[in-house]
């Protein structure tokens, strides 16, 4: 008999796959764009995570630093993608003891950013919600729970 954790994981994974497929069918984003957004987002996540946990700056200062520095060199759209990654990177090391799930969450954040571009436009905190969604999906699917 499968345990409850595995069942929940299978349900969440199925929902994510079906939801992403439906969103992709409707949005028809350019794959090149999705890949570049994911790279920017996971870059922001990794740098913020390292600054926050390995350099002991804490999540608030680390994300602020990434946002400020990113804003000096990137165009506005890219700044948003990097900042979204920074939100993912604000996660605690207890949630992500290994790097791979963090990288996946950062990349998934970028995919969600492209897929849900039209949703909640102009709502402050939208990027954070996308980041939290990506983190929770990776934690649930990876067995980290929340």
């Amino acid at each position: 008999m499968p345990n409850l954790g595995n069942t929940v994981r299978i349900i969440v994974t199925s929902l994510v796959i079906i939801g992403s497929w439906l969103a992709l069918r409707q949005a028809k984003p350019s794959w090149k764009r999705v890949v570049s957004t994911s790279c920017t987002s996971l870059g922001g996540a990794v740098v913020t995570f390292i600054l926050s946990n390995h350099f002991q700056l804490g999540p608030v200062v680390a994300s602020g630093l990434v946002g400020v520095l990113g804003a000096q060199v990137l165009a506005e759209e890219r700044q948003l993608q990097l900042y979204l990654g920074a939100f993912v990177g604000m996660s605690s090391a207890l949630r992500f003891p290994k790097f791979l799930p963090l990288i996946l969450a950062g990349a998934l954040g970028g995919v969600l950013f492209e897929l849900l571009k039209e949703a909640w436009s102009g709502v402050g905190g939208r990027l954070g919600t996308l980041a939290a969604t990506a983190v929770l999906i990776v934690l649930v699917v990876g067995g980290g729970g929340w």
Binding site: V60, Q79, S92, L94, R95, W120, V123, A131, V135
Partner: protein, 135 residues
């Protein structure tokens, strides 16, 4: 505890107002404004008091609210209301989703959507009352 909430309301509202002013009167991007507010709050507030880290979290969340478009938050008065909602959401939800990146942004989005619903309800009620008066 009540004093902390009072200070949090003051600091959060001030952050919201400063952020809104910066958005209106400078050419800084929404990310830049939010990141500067976050950085300043994260560097200064934990040094000032024992509750500084919570205050920094609150300011960070309010700085995400500041990223809202002009259509969502159009005046200083509206910014004050959303900031107060956001401070209350973060203060009472501080034990939720601990360690999950993006939770402060989620709190911010929740506050903005709550405010938008409130605004819509009030507009609908005013319109309804207006109909009755005319009728």
């Amino acid at each position: 505890m009540v004093i902390t909430l009072f200070v949090a309301l003051l600091v959060g509202t001030a952050t919201g107002l400063v952020g809104f002013w910066l958005r209106q009167n400078t050419k800084l991007s929404s990310v830049e404004v939010s990141a500067w507010l976050t950085l300043v709050a994260g560097l200064t507030l934990p040094l000032l008091s024992s509750e500084g880290f919570l205050l920094a979290l609150i300011c960070t969340s309010v700085s995400y609210v500041v990223m809202s478009s002009k259509q969502r938050i159009s005046s200083f008065k509206e910014m004050i209301v959303v900031s107060v909602i956001c401070v209350l959401v973060v203060y009472y939800g501080q034990n939720l989703l601990v360690g999950v990146g993006g939770r402060l942004g989620t709190f911010a989005a929740l506050s903005v959507l709550l405010f938008a619903s409130l605004k819509k309800c009030l507009k609908w009620r005013d319109g309804h009352v207006g109909c009755n008066i005319r009728g």
